[in-house]
Symmetry: D2
Subunit: 301 residues, 4 copies
């Protein structure tokens, strides 16, 4: 189901209420918000979705709710886990629930290509024939994959249909991947979309990222489809100060949830503990940046 | 239940069959083997118990089986997880099943004392009043705790009743911990017992370690109880070559399981994938070391 | 000499010729370029200055050349080294050459506050009474310092007169540092100035960062001095796309050197091996971003 | 000069006086001690030799003193450095002084095979035709090399004539290396010789390790030469408790220096700061272990 992947995949937040419980109704409003702002697909239970803080049952419930609300749009579910058994189980469950595929990053602590290949041999033997997004996010996982290693994995495992590329620099890696021989797979990029127009220029198939203003992601993507490269940069640049502000790892996620709350997409900006809490000073900065972003976006239109 | 902890806690293996499924009947024979060789308590689902490869249901089943077979001996269950929610859930379940307490190591990626304290504040608020073994195993977790930090955690959280100390050198840290003021807690030591007689001499309350020959662990412990220090060293030294051979991280676990299989304690030496596989060369070395250990132990008796 | 530090400190590149030799004449043109664009001081031999690729003699020669050309402006010299003896020697040499002070980051592998304090006790005993910038750059060093640890170091060591803050998020850490009691020291910020106007708003004393367009750094600083906060943001935002493009670790340094070469500041954009090399595709992106930056800056004026 | 390497290479300590200065006269007594106890060659300026605490001039002076005193035995000099320029300079200097070759470990932070190969391409282009020991010590460097990567480096760089293997488990890696096709190089093993008889059984060419009792290393080596395998194990086992005690990273080095001091090999046991200091409790343990080692060794003879 992922083999023709292209377009705008939004990496979703997981809404919690102020007591730290999963807020399922907010998933519905959040999905509606994403679709209204141009999402072609969703990626749930990623790092920015606080997937690592859930129980398996919660993960299943969250994924199921997103899938049901997505009105047939493809939903990719992050299933990375230190435990292959847990990864396999969640994979089977979410595929039953209607996921388009799963996203898998290598765990930390894989230290050589040999260990990397051995890990994925086990994983793909266990999960079977499931469409998979391979996530290359070394600053989060601690496991680095060279271009040669990624191509080797693609060669060995037909399940890999998409690469989520978020090494840094992503742009040089994208060019090397696109110049390589072998089976073509889709490349979507993360890193909070910090280099989206350049990545589009290097030949990716779209963003797979989160942002409080997904209309920018879809706008840049559509402009590139229409070969309006300068305009795509103009639009991107209008949002870049806020995008960069949200690009501060888990603290940036707290900001993003606060802005999504202000825009009515979710009921509470709370992150599950342990996690950052915003202060009045932080909120004042958000006021300024949101106001400036609105003004810049208005100038652009 | 753990506040008077002392004695010999064996860190258990998790038996799998050759197809990789949990082998529950082997848990019974393994517990009997441990008890016969002097275990006062058991610690299940540790790193050497391949806990990270199980699903939560499997973890629950394994812990329950160990607890039932332990005939009232205290069983500590490792519940460490990247997800506090999952940690909390497993804690509640195993306490219901009759565990004496849980063992918790900080996750990787805690980089300052501030983050360490914040993590455990969340954990203990979530799990409530559960007797806890704090595991200090930085080479496995990647999170280092100074003596001052450990004392601070003990001060803040009355749930911490035992410290499993397996930093290196453990011995100097033990002395500093024992010389410190504050609430006294039990200290048991891991690191595959590589420094057990020295650690006993520094004032610990017993080992919490795995070994294919637990009779050495209990023997050294009893000799120290009887103040037979030289004899304790003699016994330890007789087993040290094999102990050291098993002290090679996950590959050493494969060795230990093979020796336990040969001794009739478990049905299969298999580790769950991804994990090491022993070769004929490896098995030949085990032949030699087991034979030599038997001879040295015989000389000692 | 650093105790009243405030203003714009530019983190300098080290120029090499195409064969990889240090290009001393380019240091002169580079210093002139920095001063013309508003530098109040210079920081030489930082991470972005490829300090780790030099021999001690080369480091001395480079530092000396920068100091002589700086016309009395304060020059801070990075002296961090795995070897305290080497750090002490370079410190003595550059202070003799007229440096205003040195910058020191903890080495990697300090894993607890205890080890951190012990390291700096040794360092400051060895170097004696030398004005020092403490560099908090954990993503480069691998050693994390909490706010409490930094304050403790400031308390213990009067030599620390400036903190170069480049943890992420820097902004929340700056607020905590400014709210804390104790001896006030200057705070300058790095991270390629990616958050400069927000950091200024949080109370720092200026940037200590590198950029191919230092006129932006000095411009933002002066506007904040005049309390023109919105204008400072406007100026910053005009340069942000290029700034972000240069903010890609060592590859970003290659970009910066190329832009500095185009602006006539240095003779060659070469980095010493091993290091990145720019491709025609990369150079094309630089064309676009430099052109767009010029247009945005022109609109701003 | 290293292409026929076999035998016992002792990894040397660097003697300091109590004030922390290099103690050159103790180098002479230390070399004499090593040679008397069976050293065929020496390896100076390794991790256990506190190489990282020296200035380049000190490193040169230490290496030169060892070389002069070694009476023509081959001396390998560790030249690993974060700076390739510094590595190249020290290499040229010690080869001029008469070193048999240099030992190089990859720096930390090489994250893929691509980066590893690129690093060594730069290094060997810079140092030219110098006999080299490639050091595989990932737990110290943080850079892992698979068997395939090591073979690739050996293939590319004829300078590599010896591999110092100290990954864990070393034994399985040795077997894979010996079974591989390609140019044969010598393999010596480190890790404080903790697995020496097993490594000999797997086909290595000798130890390259430090120990306060080098007579054990040379004894085990000679017994293996005479195919007296059981006797080699017997000898090894007699020393294993003390060997293991010294195998506690930098703290273990402090122990080793203390025992070497007691045996008259060096004038002071001091380590250069920052480094561990032994307490009376530690010294009491050393008393016991040295006494027990002497008794066990006497039983063996």
């Amino acid at each position: 189901m992922l083999d023709q992947t292209r377009g705008v995949y939004i990496v979703t937040q997981t809404p919690f209420d102020d007591a730290g419980a999963v807020d399922l109704p907010s998933i519905d409003t959040l999905v509606d918000f994403y679709l209204k702002h141009g999402a072609d697909g969703l990626t749930v239970l990623g790092v920015a979705g606080e997937a690592g803080k859930l129980t398996p049952q919660e993960a299943r419930a969250v994924a199921g709710r997103f899938i049901r609300r997505a009105q047939g749009r493809p939903v990719v579910v992050g299933v990375s886990s230190a435990s292959v058994a847990q990864l396999r189980e969640l994979t089977a469950e979410v595929m039953d629930l209607g996921a388009a595929g799963v996203m898998i990053a290598p765990p930390g602590g894989l230290r050589t290509e040999e260990e990397l290949f051995s890990y994925f041999a086990t994983v793909f033997r266990e999960i079977g024939d499931v469409p998979t997004v391979l996530q290359d996010f070394p600053f989060s996982t601690g496991t680095w994959m060279s271009v040669a290693s990624i191509l080797q994995l693609v060669e060995r495992h037909p399940q890999i249909q998409v690469l989520k590329e978020e090494d840094l620099p992503s742009i040089t890696k994208i060019t090397k991947l696109r110049e390589a021989q072998g089976r073509r797979i889709a490349i979507l990029t993360g890193n909070n979309a910090m280099f989206l127009p350049l990545e589009m220029g290097r030949g990716i198939d779209g963003p797979m990222a989160g942002f409080s203003h997904p209309e920018m992601l879809s706008g840049v993507y559509r402009l590139f489809q229409q070969r309006q490269v300068e305009e795509a940069h103009d639009l991107f640049d209008a949002y870049l100060p806020l995008l960069s502000y949200e690009n501060q790892s888990q603290w940036g996620v707290a900001v993003r949830k606060e802005v999504l709350r202000r825009r009515g997409a979710i009921g509470s900006a709370a992150m599950r503990s342990p996690g950052p809490r915003l202060t009045p000073v932080d909120l004042g900065e958000i006021d300024r940046l949101v106001r400036r972003t609105a003004a810049a976006a208005a100038r652009w239109n």
